[in-house]
């Protein structure tokens, strides 16, 4: 109960601060925003961690909505001697809804996608594994701060749901985290 009280208070305070603050200098229709970073992840279903090269492009179709395309390329795993996947590359396309004020931008997004996966064959086993394509659903929560006409800081987390259905079925239930410095440019003049 105490936790719910604090969470409610914090959410309402954030909404008040956003709601009463001044307008945006950089965030408007026509803003193109891109990121390229390394993203660690946690595969909940396997209890394994991976890291990816993550690239993304976002186009604002209004101050509150944007279209997004993002791609992850698996670079390796963290810690495990026998990671479940040899590769697990994925690409997503979707849209986000934004709460933004003073060029602080909080967003929630939905991005359907696909992954290209292949299980890691055991070195001792002569059996080869197959690669395949799997549908994915993902939800994204992000915060960005546009501090200059060409740059912004960002932090993002993504929840992914899917299933690898080749050789041995594996749930793809993963949380990915990204942060860094991004590039942005306004393609339209302010009205």
């Amino acid at each position: 109960m105490e936790k719910i009280k604090w969470v409610t208070t914090i959410i309402l305070l954030i909404l008040c601060i956003y709601g009463t603050a001044q307008g945006n200098k950089f965030i408007r229709k026509g803003l193109l925003s891109s990121q390229l970073t390394f993203s660690p992840s946690y595969m909940v279903s396997d209890k394994q961690s991976y890291f990816y090269l993550h690239g993304g492009l976002e186009a604002f179709i209004s101050e509150k909505t944007s279209l997004n395309g993002e791609t992850y390329f698996l670079l390796g795993n963290i810690g495990a001697a026998n990671p479940a996947f040899e590769y697990n590359h994925s690409t997503f396309f979707g849209a986000s809804w934004h709460l933004n004020k003073n060029d602080h931008d909080f967003s929630l997004g939905i991005q359907p996608g696909i992954s290209f996966t292949k299980l890691n064959a055991l070195k001792s086993s002569p059996i080869k594994t197959q690669g395949g394509v799997n549908p994915l659903f993902s939800a994204v929560v992000a915060y960005k701060f546009y501090f200059f006409r060409f740059f912004h800081f960002f932090i993002q987390s993504r929840f992914i749901l899917g299933q690898h259905n080749y050789d041995v079925p594996r749930d793809i239930f993963e949380l990915r985290f990204s942060a860094g410095l991004g590039l942005n440019i306004n393609t339209m003049k302010a009205e």
Binding site: T9, Y18, A95, P135, F137
Partner: protein, 207 residues
Amino acid sequence: MNIRHTCFLLPLFLISTSTFAQKTDAGKPIAEPGWFSVGARSTISLFDHDGGGLGTGGQFRIQLSKKVNTDWFADYISINISDKVRSEYYHIGWSVLFYPREEGFIKPYILAGHCFDYNKKTSMRDPSITAERWGSAVQAGVGTHFNLSSRFDISITSQYMIHLTKALEAEFDGDNISITEHQGSALEGHLLTTISLNYKLCRLWKR
């Protein structure tokens, strides 16, 4: 939650809702005929005799009148049958959407349509055990748009799709897997629940 805390939260709640109520850019959603929109979709397949599955795809829409829209879609759904066989559905088809009300943030609709579907069932461990078929299907259901801005909407649709073709059946006998085609056509199908994101790109005609 005590009264003191409630007294603190209530003004916060009122301030936050009032400021955001004034500052949304929802605008008046476009409802005129001729608009062409594009988008992406995620689909959950349920009540299939193969089991539940997840799909992804895309669509475009062409609005014919204020009350009638058309949805042209393609998707790929993958279903895991008992951890042994992968059932893949490819759908390409179209639906007609009818709106009881022409405007609003929430814009419900009923829809019905037709699609071509391709189903391939493959043993996960031995890809040489496989069978495929082409077919046709009809679908009908209900849904609603949530118009987040004048040009952008998120839509949730639930429709039942009946396959008008012979179904592929995966049978298991211990570790042996066989995939066969039913002798007669079966009116079997699945409930497809879709969440889609749509952006009105341009107006093809004016009237």
